[in-house]
Every structure is written in structure tokens, then in C-alpha cells.
Symmetry: C3
Subunit: 374 residues, 3 copies
């Protein structure tokens, strides 16, 4: 039973590119968690739940014993080279499809087709809304044409087959307290004007951090009928976690119905997210990023997420970024966590084995296929 559940192919509905180059120990530790650095003297990011989970599960993929020491592991990783390492971990993830957020690339990372080739599965693109707006602003489009131009570029991406969904990073910028109303184009134009003037004055690239613009962008995606992914909760240190509580988004989630809203990560607000998934018909949730982050504790997270969230509203994502290990580890931990949850219920007589298998199929891939329609 557990084996069957653990063998299910997964749709990873929110992930990113991985680095194509080799990494030294500091760079590797920096990529392992959401910290900005590898830690102060005396603190190793390997001494974390994700670090121990990586040492437990990833060395065998590189022909080492489980629990390899960090030094030994990184030496073997360097010996094989990034290309081979990426190939092995993407293949090991056992994915059916990927939905790749292409909006964040401080350095060169593998693009969706490359990821898909390594994973042996179709890789769809998720368009980052703020990146489109920032591109429009950077091109010096006049403010009055801003709204139309954003819509046109989004449509182009959809027509070119490059947008299976959209993603909002409002939680990293102005926060999730977005109103429900669709802003009129004139209001978006004024906000775009402010954005462009600020970029000009500071001499830096435009950076969307404005309640009106985040909201306008979400409505562009809604009008285009794209499922909208929202970064929620756990993420890197430049976010203010207080502003990442999904309850702040209740009004907008309600207003965008029936277009699907996908609440990503959610930890430590995953119970809030589960509540929203129950009471609002268009809300879906995952536990991406945190499944990796919590490692051996991820079953507790999965169980808490599944307290109120209907099983037809829960998806899988790794939120892997940078390290190919996170594709494999995320999939493995989620499979084991979900399988343990479902098999435990069968053992306790809470549900039947047939229901457990059916629910596993929904969460592993069925819900994602239904929502993204491909």
C-alpha cells in the first residue's frame, strides 16, 4: 500500500530552474535554505531539517551511502559535474509534468525545455506578472498605454504557448493585503507613472511594489483565464512574513472566482490556507518549499494542511530553485508524507484503501491536471 502510494508520478506545479554550474560549499549552503547567507561562524546550514534530509536521501543518487558528510557529498558532486548531477536528480524526481516559474534569474539557470528534457516530462511555463510589468516599464512605454501593453504581452505569451498560469509575488513586495476590486486602467496608469519616475530618479530597473499594480496584474491574468499562483508565507528573508498571511488576500480571492487561485508554500500559515481552500470554491493550496524545508518533519505539515483543505484542492510542488537535489527531495518527501498520511488512515480504519488510492491520485496529479487543463 505504502509502496504503491509512494510510486505515484507527480505533477510539480510550481518550480524553477536549476544552476548549470558547479558550486562551492558556501554557495551550496546558501542555496539550501531561505537564508541570505550560509550562517554566522559556527552555524552550518547542513545542520537543519533540510540539510539532514538531503544527506539522508541524496547521496545514493550520486552513488554514495546515505548520511554522507557534507564534504564528501560536495566532492562527489563536483566530480560528477553539474550536468550529470542535474540529470540524475531531475530523473529521480519521477515527474509527470512541471510548471516552471521563469520570473527569477539572478544568474543563468536551466530553462523549462531543458528541465523538461532532464525530467522526461513536459515542462510548462508560469509567467511572473511583476516581470511583465517591469519589462513594460523598462521599455519606456508611456503610462497611458501601460495597461494595454501589459495585457498585450501577456496575451502574446499565452498565444505562444508560454503561459500555463501566472504568478504574483505581491507577498514579497507590497504584501498580500490586496483589495478585491479591479483597478480602472487610469489608476493603473497613474501607478505605472510612479513606478517609471521612481526608476528614472534612482537610476535602477523598475521594481513593482504597489498595491494597485499587483492587483491590476492579478486581474490581467484573471481576465485572460489563467490560474493565478500567489507566493504565500515562507520565503526568503527580504519578504516581510507578516504580510504573507493568505487571510490578507481573502477579498481578492473571493472576487476572482471562478478563476483558480493557487496558494503556494503557505507555511506557517498553512492552516489559514486550508481554511480558504475549504470555504472559497476557487482556492487551491500546496506545501511547496516547506516540504523540503521541514525535511523529516514534513509529514506534520502535510497532515496540518489536510485538516480543512478538501483533498480535491491540494497540489504538489517542490518550489525547487538552484539545486537539482530539491526536485528529488521535494518529490520524495511529499510522496512519503502523503503516503504515510493516507496509509495511516487506512490502518486506523478512517478510510478505505480504495479511497486512499483515489485521493493519492488526485493530490499527486489529478487536481493539477484539472486546474491547469493540460
Amino acid at each position: 500500500m505504502l509502496e504503491y502510494l509512494e510510486s505515484l508520478p507527480l505533477v510539480d506545479h510550481h518550480c524553477h530552474g536549476v544552476l548549470g554550474r558547479d558550486l562551492d560549499r558556501t554557495e551550496f549552503e546558501e542555496s539550501l535554505t531561505e537564508a541570505e547567507t550560509s550562517g554566522p561562524p559556527g552555524v552550518s546550514m547542513f545542520d537543519t531539517q533540510v540539510g539532514f534530509a538531503l544527506r539522508r536521501w541524496c547521496p545514493p543518487v550520486l552513488d554514495l551511502d546515505p548520511h554522507a558528510e557534507p564534504g564528501e557529498y560536495l566532492a562527489r558532486r563536483a566530480e560528477l559535474g553539474a550536468a550529470e548531477v542535474n540529470r540524475r536528480f531531475l530523473a529521480a524526481a519521477g515527474l509527470d509534468a512541471l510548471y516552471v516559474d521563469t520570473g527569477y534569474s539572478p544568474e543563468a539557470i536551466l530553462d523549462p525545455p531543458e528541465l523538461g528534457r532532464l525530467a522526461g516530462a513536459p515542462a510548462h511555463e508560469i509567467v511572473r506578472l511583476e516581470a511583465i510589468a517591469e519589462g513594460v516599464a523598462a521599455d519606456g512605454v508611456e503610462a497611458a498605454r501601460f495597461a494595454d501593453e501589459v495585457r498585450a504581452r501577456l496575451d502574446d505569451r499565452i498565444d505562444a504557448g508560454g503561459a500555463a498560469g501566472a504568478k504574483s509575488i505581491a507577498a514579497y513586495r507590497a504584501g498580500l493585503e490586496l483589495a478585491g476590486e479591479r483597478p480602472p486602467d487610469a489608476e493603473a496608469a497613474r501607478a505605472a507613472g510612479r513606478l517609471m519616475r521612481a526608476a528614472e530618479e534612482s537610476g535602477t530597473a523598475p521594481r513593482v511594489c504597489d498595491e494597485v499594480l499587483h492587483r491590476f496584474l492579478v486581474w490581467c491574468a484573471v481576465d485572460a483565464g489563467l490560474p493565478v499562483q500567489f507566493h504565500v508565507g515562507y520565503g526568503d528573508a527580504d519578504a516581510d512574513l507578516r504580510r504573507g498571511d493568505p487571510l490578507l488576500l481573502t477579498g481578492l480571492l473571493r472576487a476572482m472566482d471562478p478563476v483558480p487561485a493557487m496558494l503556494l508554500h503557505n507555511y506557517p500559515f498553512h492552516r489559514h490556507a486550508g481554511y480558504l481552500a475549504q470555504v472559497l470554491p476557487n482556492v487551491y493550496v500546496d506545501a511547496g518549499l516547506a516540504t523540503n524545508g521541514l525535511g523529516h518533519r514534513s509529514p506534520a505539515l502535510i497532515a496540518e494542511l489536510l485538516e480543512l483543505a478538501p483533498f480535491g484542492k491540494v497540489l504538489y510542488s517542490s518550489d525547487a530553485y538552484g539545486l537539482a537535489e530539491l526536485y528529488h527531495l521535494g518529490a520524495l518527501l511529499f510522496r512519503r508524507g502523503l503516503a504515510g498520511f493516507l496509509a495511516g488512515g487506512v490502518e486506523d480504519g478512517a478510510w478505505t484503501a480504495a479511497d486512499a488510492e483515489r485521493v493519492a491520485g488526485l493530490v499527486a496529479s489529478g487536481n493539477a491536471r484539472r486546474v491547469y487543463g493540460r
Copy 2:
């Protein structure tokens, strides 16, 4: 030990009427969770913790095997008819007393005497404060007489034996951020004037959604010496869950001491509620509604609620509404969860069997009897 603990009669200190008519599948799914609808295409509300718990525990009461499929279950339910179904589930709940909130009736539901007859236990009434105020406003009482009239009607209900406690639904309306001060009658009069003008202008029934009025109503109940129940946390989608955190109510809870304040439901803020139950002498808590909602996971909720809450401050409620199943299921899950919690502690040597039995008696009925005084 477990059997003994599971056999205890319960006082259900917060529940509602059940529907006296038969339900089709869509209606049944709508009543099962706090969602407004039965879910978008492809999503069944049976595929939830409460749905699986219902399929596990309720079919045998209707002479079916555990885990009956939804279709089979609903067919048998229809065959027996609502009257028989209600009779069986209310009797199966094993209740010692009921405290019925009569304030919410979008359609005809069984009243307290009918519920008590089916349950074979006395059914007391809990008066919904906002309903009294809305009744006064609807009757066109002039604003200056509003405060006196509310107090008079509340007194009448108490004198008639129809008010074992009062209930505030501020969390569903203006939110729980209520000040501690008792509003002067003149301030209540002005708020009542606004309420009546708004109703008149919109041509709809008066609807209390005003910090001053919610607070005024709580003080009316406090002055009458009635325990005041507060809706907290988990509830249906028209509430803004952010405004349902019991910590928002700290000032008023402190001010109304020594009149008991009963924090209902509390999920996902149950740890906040447990803290308040420890540090404020007049605060009591339950895990109603969420015990049903979390199904197989409800033991985790009960254990978290009991982290800080003194065992003399915790009560049982089902918050059953509409479906008679929820009376039985709530009681069963709570009994099993509490019994497992207490028996686990005995097994680990954390407390003695005698203490476990004593605590079980407090939570099952003793605390409720002491607070409500009947």
C-alpha cells in the same frame, strides 16, 4: 480505560437546530463543511476529513457498513426519512444536556424542545444577542429607547427560562476587536439610530455590524449575569477569519470578569484561546465545529487546545447545524480524541488513571454544569 472514558455522557454547550426535511446530494455536501457551495466541478466535499469521518462512523447508525459510498449513504438516508435519521443520530450522541443557539435559521429547523426530546436530555436556549437587537430595530423602536428595550427583551427571555447564556457573533460582523469599555446608553442610541436608518435606506432587515453595538450587547448579557459565548475563528466564508482571532478580544474579556466568556471553535487560533483560558480567570474554551471539520485529525486539535488551557476551563460542543449526523460525529470524535489524549498520558506515566477519569468528567460535563449553573 479508553472504553470508560469513551462512554462518558457529554454536555453539548453550543449547538443548533437540524433540518426536518430530506436533502439531495448537493444540499447535503453544502451542509457538510463551511463552504458556500458543494465545490467546483471535480471537487467533492465528501473528500475531506469531515466527509471521510462521516462515511466511517455514520453509516452503521443507518444500518449500513462503515465507509459506505456517498450515493449509497444518501439513498439509505432518504429511505429512512429525515425524522428517523434525526432521531437516530441525536440519540446516538449520548448527551446529558444541550445548549442550543437559536439565532440562525435561514429555513425551518428543529427547535430546542424537539432536539431535547430526540436527544433524551434537557435542551437549554442560548440567546443570540444580535438577533435581539435586530428585532428591536426592526420593530421601529426609537433610538433613545433602544438600550432599555434590548435589556427588557433579554430580561424577558431570562425570566421565561429561555436564556441559559448569550451569544455574540461579532466575529462574523465587525470583528472581535471590541474595546473593553461599556458604551454609555447614549452612544448605543446613536449606533442604533445608524442601524435603523441604514435598514430603512436599503429596504432590508436591520443587520448589526458595529463595534459599539456588539460591545453594548455583550455588556447587556454581562449585566444580566449570563455566560457569553463568542464565535471565534473557523466559520463560514462570509466571516473574515483575520478578525476572528480571540487575542483581539483580550481587553473585553478582561473587563467582563467574573462573568464567564466562552470562546467557541477557535481553530486555527486554538492555541491563542488556550493561552487566554490560562491567564484570564473567566475565559473558557472549546473546539466545537473544528472537531467535526478535522475528523481523523481532531485528536491533534484537542491536544493543542489542552496545551495551555487548564482542564477546568475546557468544554465540549459540536456546533452541529443542519445535519443530525454532526451531533453524533462531533460527540464521537471528541470522546475518542479526549479519551486517547488522557489514556496516552496514563500509558506514558504523565498522570494517573484516577486523574484521567476526573479530568474526563470535568471536560465532558462538569465544567459546563459549573459555568451554566444548571
Copy 3:
């Protein structure tokens, strides 16, 4: 394995004095939890997680059987007398070092040297920042000299060897929403002026409750290079728990890097604290006070704290105050909880026994030694 882990000496990096006199039952119950009183009629503070944990683990130290009844326990306690009781429990705690917050003394309590003598371990002092400021204000120093005088007194304490760290109780007063910026001396002077005028007008001792002053004090400690402890979350009833969420402090924590910030207690916001410990290099966390408060449930708290917090960022504290039992009980529950957590991971193959022992050493004492530098 479990035995080895449970045998580790602990550094208790945040604790207080204990009472040197005998206590009656009401006083004892009042000291057991964070409630202001021993509970309303019918409610005993012994019927709590901490009460049952105390009855389980403390009677044997006083030559009684586990689970002694409260009356029997208190009689034996009185028979032995406070001096002997304090000696036994401090010795039983198995401490390597203590860091004693000396800022709160509504009545005579044992000072750090006495505590250290009883514990058989060095006892360092943690200076309460608000107490220094209140002392300066009470001495009638003119506002313009306030900032210099606070710094001078802090330096004197450091030079005299009486300040291994500083402590802020902003969470109990103005709340944790402190800005990141260092306030200029002139701004601190104006705030000090307000503080002194308010004390003069009310005829009471000065009481710091001002965002500017709390922040100024933290920066004084930062400039002196002292690790700063922050009261966070769970505490007694005169705090507003809403204002004790560590996420409110994010900006200041970031600004004070690389000086260590020690987030104390954290319950029920311990997952928020664990997140901050991961993403901000200078943030450390503990589960003091709540480990005692949750008793048999404390392993759940420890596991949740260790979800995101790097194991090199977690410390032990009892937050014992008043009752010497809390020194012993806190240490025992933490050792058992941490040992169970680590041994469980070994059993599941999540990490090796060698890693478990290494992590145990970090959390038990290594992290504290590294941060406090002694």
C-alpha cells in the same frame, strides 16, 4: 542513546530568582502558571499540563512517590522548608551555567550568586534594559543627559562583570513593533522627558512603555556588543499577546546584525521564530517557559520549533521564576523532549547517532557558549 542524550548538562540561558520563603497553596498555584490568580472556584491550576508534569516529576526529589496529590506535596515541601527545597531542585537541574535576568523582583528572591551556588554552576547576569532606564529616570537625571547616563550605567554593569547580555521587555509594554532605526539621542531625550513627567504627575515610579525608548535601549546594548534577549509570545496576563509576535520585530532584528538577538519563549509564535532564526543570521531561539507550560506536550513544541530553526541557533532556557521546581522541571522536560526528537530521527534513519549526539551538544550548551562567549 536516549539515556546519553538525556544526561547532557544544560546551559540555562534565561532564568530568574526563586523565592526563599515557604508558600501556601494559593501562592503556589499562582506561581505555577502565567495566570494572575489561582483560578475561579472549581478550577485548580494543578489541573494543567504544567501541574501534572510537576506532580509527575517533582515529588521524588522531595522523597515522595510520583503523582503525589497537591496537598501531600505541599505539606512535604513545607516540612523540608524553602532553603532545602531550593537546594534540591537547583541541584537536580543538572546545569552547566545560568544566565539570570535580575530585572523583575516584586519580592525578595535569590540572587545570581545564590542560585549559582545551589546549582553548582556559574551564574551570569542578564541586565534588564528597561530597569536601567527606569533607574535613571527615578534618579531625576535631566532628560538631555538621559542617553549618556543609560550608556554609562550599562557600561558600569559590563565592567563590573554583571552583564553577560541584555534583555528587552518591549513585548510587555509598547509591543514588539519596533522600528529598525537607531533613535538619535535627542529623540531619546524627548521620550525620557515624557517618561519623567508622567511619573511625576502620577506620583508613581517611572515605567518605560514607549517605542522610542525600548528601541533606544536595544541599540545601547547593541553598541555595547551584548547579545539582546527579547521576551516574545507567552507570558503573563498583563501583556497583550498580539503585540508579542516576533515577526513584528523583523526590521530591528535585521538592523542589529551581527549582534545576536535571542528570541525567548516564542509560543505560540514559535514557528515564526524558527523562520526568523533561519533567514536572519543573528537570530537565535528557545522554547523557555512554554516547555514547562506544556508539560507532557512539550515534545510537540520542540519539534515545531526545530522545523525551520537551524540546530546551531536553538538554545535551552527554563525561564524559571519563583518556584525552584521550574528549574528542575524545565531542564527535565527539555532534555526528554530533545532526546526523544533526536532519538526518533535516528530510529527512522533521518540522521545518524553521531549527528544526533553532536546536535544535542549544540543545543544543550554549545550554542549558548558560542553566543555568550563564556
